[in-house]
Symmetry: C2
DNA sequence: CATTAACTCTGACATGCTGTCAAACATAGC
DNA sequence: GCTATGTTTGACAGCATGTCAGAGTTAATG
């Protein structure tokens, strides 16, 4: 995980080319990058338009150090989204849903995603940099893959019979998750209501209502 | 409609207080405000992060003139969203769906919204200023009201039986509309596919599938 | 431990955008 | 034609992003 952070940063030990001439990455750097990412999550959760300076201060680091680790502000935010997505995907891996009935597995996935959404409020207020190729299909790939796997399985087993294309179901369910989170954020639903409503909506879309 | 624009602008004829001492608003101003709104739609559709200067140039007007009509960049974008919402709402009014079966009415509403979304690509790429009270519940109110009315009616008539709360259905369907538009924008669906998929999804959520 | 490379910090700078102000100028309304 | 209303030009402050250079620290290595 930490090595993942290191690999994502700007100051990158490219020693693979000239194997043993260079020193190894300093522990400082990892700690700084970690602090910056942590601070970014915290600050953006409260202040979605926070400046790089704000984040740097919260991380106990100078603004220029942030730029030493992340090329641009967008790259920083991208890294945060990547990290969160990876965390959620790891939770999904750990849940071992391969054998469970698709309906149960789907509900489990929703639960994990839901908790991630509650843990990181910035997911609802900060718009992810529309950087890469398609919209933001690439960043959440690890998460979406889980969802797609379960949906495909449920369709083949006959549990999901709505006939809607699986890729659309992935998008739709993810989108509804966002919307449900927003209902909570704006106080129009309790977390409990939102969780249940989201689950029911997803099942309806899948044709398992 | 034009008077609505005038009322939304900064330079506002407050003659209601001192009735006949002041001159009436110049035709210039209306024309400028109109051009600016038109240009904003055009430019933002292509370049979602366009500057006020870019918009001013496209409107054939100086940057300061833009600020003469709209307090801030956000206010300008807000006005654009308002105008588009009003246009869509007007179309919904004109459709006279009060008597039609709720399912048909819902499909009509989706169709109108869908065409609006296709006509104004900026709706998908520009995030609306989260200004007012709740998220963006106030701005689209005219549109959402139509949707809510039809959904409530369908529920009472027994056509919609999913049991999901009507306010949530409004949000969910609107959100899915956005998602469907995005599928088209990114080339993952043809407009035709997206339209059908959206309709089917909405009916499923309503329990009319 | 001493060396040295890696990292961070301070300060300064260029650039671009938003928003404001003032004064000269143009034009539509009366 | 007079005059309020709009527009333009030009200038300005403030703030944010991103870059650079140089001095100062700190961790890895032998």
């Amino acid at each position: 995980m930490l090595s993942n952070i290191a690999r994502a940063t700007k100051i990158d030990n490219v020693s693979e080319i000239t194997p043993s001439r260079r020193r190894r990455r300093r522990a400082d750097a990892d700690r700084s990058a970690g602090e910056i990412l942590r601070a970014t999550k915290d600050v953006l959760a409260v202040q979605p338009h926070a400046s790089v300076e704000d984040i740097a201060v919260a991380a106990g680091v100078s603004r220029q150090t942030v730029y030493a680790h992340f090329k641009t502000r967008e790259a920083l935010i991208s890294a945060v989204f990547d990290e969160i997505a990876a965390e959620a995907a790891a939770g999904m891996d750990a849940a071992r849903l391969d054998r469970a009935p698709a309906v149960d597995a789907l509900l489990q996935l929703l639960d994990i995603s839901w908790r991630t959404l509650q843990r990181y409020p910035l997911l609802l207020t900060v718009s992810p940099p529309a950087g890469d190729s398609t919209a933001d299909g690439k960043r959440h790939e690890p998460v979406f893959d889980h969802l797609e796997a379960v949906l495909s399985r449920g369709r083949q087993s006959g549990e999901f019979a709505s006939g809607l294309p699986v890729p659309w179901l992935v998008t739709a369910i993810a989108t509804l998750g966002h919307a449900a989170g927003d209902e909570v954020r704006t106080g129009r639903m309790t977390p409990q209501q939102a969780r249940d409503t989201l689950a029911r909506s997803a099942l309806l879309l899948c044709g398992a209502g």
